[in-house]
């Protein structure tokens, strides 16, 4: 089958890191990622089924990996070679194994975390027992090679290939009223739902969402849908992002350089000093950082109130940061990764993906899928995704619905939609 494969190639990784620093997405041309003919993955065991991806999104973590910018933290929790792609809507391949697993044919969304159940580990770890799948303590163990998610594990394949395998517990049936574009938004939306609900947003709180890419916009929608904030401020760099932020529920939309002032105005707090604002006396109750850079974290710490909360949703990596303010103002800095089970403000517990399905439908988040590409044009796709903001895009995805499933001829690909 045709798939994009990421191999362990240190020299190419170094080249990608250099190229990625020059131009985001350039790592696709020189790095370890390549379009290849590979064998479809075998089923790792009972309960697993074959699925054929229809759409597969390109995520920020994928881009960091392709450009050699991701942290070495991930080395022990991935296995090479792997086929990336963890934002997947797919068709279940109807065969005897699917019957045996009790999975009916039809469209599904993949919940890619490879926790204890998928790995055949019994009894499951405490986190999986609680339903907090993203916190699974066994992601390098069990019946599978290491891999925190499908798309980073050599045994499962990924969404950037014509076929992959998934455990029955990873699959969520797509209702007929959701089209593929909406369905492919469920996984990133689940991340956003988790970010919003783990931020402990009190009723009436002032919430600042930094970043207005896919994660920022879906987080904004999640905050508005599942919480009861007072004022929601979105920080967006590009004009179309500002429009989306307004559409998805931001009360105030500010450009990055306007962040401190926007928060000050919204909270009515004072600022320290009488020149340019370097930090606020009070600030936002909650800052959700969907960028994850040193700059965004610094801004978050400047504008969060004493004893406020900064939720780090964007993947940060190595970061140099002055944490004096965090110490002096007793700020809680917490991460928000993936999903599992959430506690809603009314105390009920629900699977994050179920909530994400609700939100995608309610907010019509399929609109955020801006462009799709065939695998053969992966360099263009990666470049587009890496530069999505300035090119007026939000979510860029691979479209594997077109042409024969095992097509080897890129000329047969119909192009960008």
């Amino acid at each position: 089958m045709r798939a994009l494969v990421y191999r362990r190639r240190p020299l190419r990784f170094a080249a990608a890191a250099a190229a990625g620093r020059v131009a985001p997405g350039a790592g696709a041309g020189v790095g370890p990622l390549g379009l290849d003919d590979v064998d479809a993955p075998d089923l790792p065991g009972p309960g697993w089924v074959r699925i054929a991806p229809r759409l597969s999104g390109i995520c920020g973590s994928d881009l960091a990996t392709i450009d050699g910018q991701s942290s070495r933290w991930f080395e022990p929790v991935v296995s090479f070679p792997f086929v990336p792609g963890h934002e997947v809507v797919a068709d279940v391949v109807a065969d005897a194994d699917a019957d045996a697993a009790g999975v009916a044919a039809g469209r599904v969304v993949l919940e890619p975390v490879l926790g204890c159940v998928a790995r055949g580990i019994d009894p499951v770890c405490d986190a999986c027992e609680r339903g907090d799948l993203g916190n699974c303590e066994r992601i390098t163990m069990g019946a599978l090679a290491p891999g925190l998610q499908s798309g980073f594990c050599c045994d499962t394949g990924g969404g950037w290939g014509a076929a992959m395998v998934a455990h029955a517990s990873q699959l969520h049936r797509v209702p007929d009223h959701l089209d593929d574009a909406a369905a492919v938004m469920v996984e990133p939306t689940a991340c956003a739902v988790h970010a919003a609900l783990s931020s402990h947003i009190e009723p009436g709180a002032t919430v600042l969402v930094l970043g207005a890419g896919t994660l920022g916009l879906t987080t904004l929608a999640a905050v508005r849908h599942f919480c009861d904030p007072g004022t929601v401020i979105a920080v967006a760099k590009h004009p179309h992002q500002r429009e989306w932020a307004r559409t998805l529920g931001a009360d105030v939309v500010a450009a990055p350089q306007e962040t401190s002032r926007a928060v000050r105005r919204a909270t009515g707090t004072l600022a320290v000093g009488d020149g340019p604002i370097t930090r606020l006396a009070g600030g936002a109750d909650v800052v959700i950082d969907c960028v994850g850079s040193a700059d965004s974290l610094a801004v978050a710490l400047e504008v969060v109130r004493p004893r406020g909360r900064v939720t780090l949703v964007g993947m940060a990596g190595h970061t140099r940061l002055d944490l004096t303010g965090l110490w002096q103002r007793e700020v809680a800095l917490v991460g928000a990764y993936a999903y599992g089970t959430e506690t809603l403000p009314d105390g009920t517990r629900r699977r994050t993906f179920d909530l994400a399905f609700d939100l995608v439908a309610a907010a019509d988040l399929g609109r955020l899928v801006t462009a799709t590409y065939p695998l053969a044009r992966y360099r263009d796709a990666i470049a587009h995704a890496a530069d999505a903001g300035s090119r007026g895009a939000v979510k860029v995805a691979f479209d594997l619905r077109r042409g024969p499933r095992h097509d080897h001829d890129p000329d047969h690909d119909p192009g960008v939609s």
């Binding site: 306007e258 105005r265 009515g268």
Partner: protein
């Protein structure tokens, strides 16, 4: 004998016209046959003996007033209020007129045995003056005698303990002024009447008042009905201030008004800037070389360096009259003297009004001319420099030349930054702005803190700048800014143009082909008397 202002019809022999362009210049050729240029009068002769004239005015008051010396007595409480850094423009060479007047007032007070004297910079909601600025205004002698003892202060319109509500006008306008001044036996108000808007009851009723009081006349409705606010008898702004003056007078607040006028000598008759005061067709070869060299040098400088050069300029303008006594009687004479310098008769309106905006306005002395101040200077001040009818016809076009940088002084204009980022990003409609945002900014605790403790304009001040242009916004069909930062110009709601010829082409979409054009050659200041 100084020559009066004139209206020059542009023909093919008219040389390129100098347009002020912030801290730079542009030279523009106006279309022959349908353009005219209004030039200001040459500087009036200064008073030969200013000190003598001041003494004479204090001793021979106008209206229903005794001489100042007769109003002073031992044990009385005397407050001397004076105009702030916004006057004159540019700041004048030492000695400042305020210094000359205040020294004589203090001499008289000392002679009368008055020892409870306080000096207050009547800055209303403007920024507090720095120690250096106060020292320049009142002179070393006065500053050193009063400032160290806390007797020379900036008015604080947000100090509830030092404000006093005097009453309410028959229109329901609250009159609240500085408590020290209100409770004094006598207020001596020292004015520099740079333009016809200044002085009269506006001095005390505005300069020493609070937001609570100011908002009755600093609003869109008032400004749209001040036609113009340089013509007191047709200015709702002044009508309101005069009503407040009645309340003050009826409540027993006694004001001895001293008003001074100055000539148009902004750039001097010698030195590098002198050429800016001459008419282009009278430039000598030396003048032409000088101004070209100046333009080349300025263009090569950084904006910061250019700003430094211009803001270090101290104008030589000189006093042309001084009158003292009862407020209204004084002001009538003052206004006539201001008009004697500024008024230029102009026949008929124009389709397109062009103006080159200079580097300075009332609110960016020693500071940055931010985009909001550009709007205020052009559509507020320059547009309103008329008597009779606006220079530009209703539905006409104003073309302003200014770099309009997206740049703000963070200490002086903190609320302006928010106004630009939040309010103007939402709407440029003055009434909508007033209704939706004014109170939030006026009552913002941080702005209040910065106004009182730093050198920031009051939080509401950018709103007033916008209201100042409300009459023009309602009157004209389009505003174009030549050579401005395009994003900043668009944020203002105006149209950016790269050159005057582009701007004129754009203007024809609004006023039709071959429009009449009038260029306001200001500074030095002129006021069009349009018939």
């Amino acid at each position: 004998m100084p020559r009066p202002g004139l209206v020059l019809d542009v023909d093919r022999s008219t040389p390129p016209v100098l347009f002020h362009h912030g801290e730079q210049f542009r030279f523009e050729r106006l279309p022959a046959g349908r353009s005219r240029i209004i030039y200001p009068a040459e500087p009036l002769e200064p008073l030969a003996d200013p000190e003598g004239a001041i003494a004479h005015a204090l001793a021979n008051p106008l209206g229903d007033s005794e001489p100042l010396a007769a109003l002073l007595r031992p044990g009385m409480k005397l407050t001397i209020a004076f105009d702030d850094i916004s006057l004159p423009l540019p700041p004048m060479r030492a000695p400042d007129i305020r210094q000359r007047v205040i020294e004589q007032v203090l001499d008289l007070a000392a002679a009368a045995g008055v020892d409870d004297v306080m000096l207050i910079a009547a800055l209303a909601l403007h920024r507090r003056m720095t120690a250096d600025e106060l020292r320049h205004a009142v002179g070393n002698r006065v500053y050193d005698a009063f400032a160290p003892h806390g007797l020379l202060v900036n008015h604080d319109a947000e100090d509830p303990d030092n404000l006093l509500e005097i009453g309410t006008t028959r229109h329901g306008e609250v009159v609240e002024i500085n408590r020290r001044a209100a409770e004094s036996d006598l207020i001596v108000y020292v004015n520099i009447n740079l333009v016809a808007m200044d002085g009269g009851w506006k001095s005390t009723a505005t300069g020493l008042s609070s937001y609570r009081s100011l908002r009755h006349h600093h609003n869109v409705e008032t400004m749209e009905h001040s036609r113009s606010f340089m013509d007191r008898h047709n200015s709702e702004l002044h009508h309101s201030n005069w009503r407040m003056g009645e309340v003050l007078r009826d409540a027993g607040v006694k004001v001895f008004q001293i008003e001074t006028t100055m000539n148009n000598d902004v750039f001097g008759t010698t030195g590098p800037m002198a050429v800016l005061q001459k008419r282009e067709w009278e430039w000598s070869t030396r003048d032409r070389m000088s101004v070209r060299a100046m333009k080349t040098a300025l263009d090569a400088m950084s904006p910061r360096a250019r700003r430094s050069v211009f803001h270090s300029w101290r104008a030589p303008h000189a006093m042309t009259s001084v009158q003292a006594g009862e407020v209204e009687a004084v002001h009538e004479v003052t206004t006539a003297n201001v008009y004697a310098q500024h008024l230029v008769p102009v026949e008929g309106q124009t389709d397109v009004l062009t103006m080159g905006l200079p580097y300075i306005g009332p609110y960016n002395v020693n500071s940055i001319m931010n985009p909001i101040l550009v709007m205020c200077l052009g559509l507020g001040y320059f547009f309103n420099l008329y008597r009779g009818r606006p220079l530009v016809r209703e539905g006409g076009v104003i073309i302003m030349s200014h770099p309009t940088p997206w740049d703000f002084h963070p200490v002086h204009h903190p609320s302006y930054i928010d106004f630009f980022e939040q309010v103007l990003a939402d709407t440029t409609d003055p009434r909508e702005i007033e209704a939706r945002y004014e109170r939030q900014y006026a009552e913002d605790e941080w702005y209040r803190h910065l106004y009182r403790t730093s050198h920031a304009y009051h939080g509401v001040h950018p709103f007033y700048m916008w209201y100042w242009g409300a009459h023009a916004l309602a009157h004209v069909g389009r505003v174009i800014i030549v050579g401005g930062d395009r994003d900043a110009v668009r944020r203002l709601g105006f149209t950016p143009a790269s050159s005057l010829s582009d701007a004129l082409e754009m203007a024809s979409d609004t006023v039709g082909p071959q429009p009449t054009i009038t260029h306001l050659h200001n500074p030095p200041i002129l006021m069009a008397d349009v018939t």
